[in-house]
Symmetry: C2
Subunit: 144 residues, 2 copies
Amino acid sequence: MDPRFFQELSEVEALERLASVSVGRIVFTHRALPAVRPVNHIVANGHIIIRTDPDTVLGRKVMPSGTVVAFETDELDMAEHLGWAVTVTGTARAVDDPWEATRFKDLLRPWLVGDMDQVIRIHPQIITGFTLVPSSTADGSAQR
Amino acid sequence: MDPRFFQELSEVEALERLASVSVGRIVFTHRALPAVRPVNHIVANGHIIIRTDPDTVLGRKVMPSGTVVAFETDELDMAEHLGWAVTVTGTARAVDDPWEATRFKDLLRPWLVGDMDQVIRIHPQIITGFTLVPSSTADGSAQR
């Protein structure tokens, strides 16, 4: 298989791709170690919304004060070596306003059984993304 | 859709799943911020092997000294809310031995065009994984 070129996405394109899938991976630091958890999400007003159990590492970690996290989504085709990936870095905070939390809980149903009562909002500050393109279709902006 | 139960995988099962796919996400800390990059991988002798361009953040970050990273793989079905995820935490180090680096380069072809000459080995120290199972088939070990 020919190697692929790496072509950057604009911030708008990157957020659109992130919003087009329902699962991503939240990346944070726990006890000075890198940690990552897959989680289902929605995008609302340009913010990433997730739910978690308040009694998990993720729940305790971001509540009540904000913490910087990364959030990664991708769709990568292992057979064709094509696809895209988007990573957002930003501040994650618990949604404390009860009305707002209820609204997000109506919009976002957790996959998991249990007390997924904590709603977390990630405010994107850095947005990066790329698509993998076959060499033959790469335009001038293609870069590694 | 019924919510799913979270069922833990053993370390052996988790590494088998990680080795069954060719793409994962390496998670590390860069300038005190959480960072994540998708990358293709193989598993050799229980170690995760990846390749990178030595002139990237990832390349400079782990070379020449070791750094602690997480490596995440998953196969999650967005329609069915089923699948699995595995995360390994361990030390990543550049493979400096030329014979060994050449052997890994023969086994692991990068998806990307370019100078992917740096081979990195991750030695797993913590291995965790889960499958999502429908409520009706969850056995006694199922937990969130």
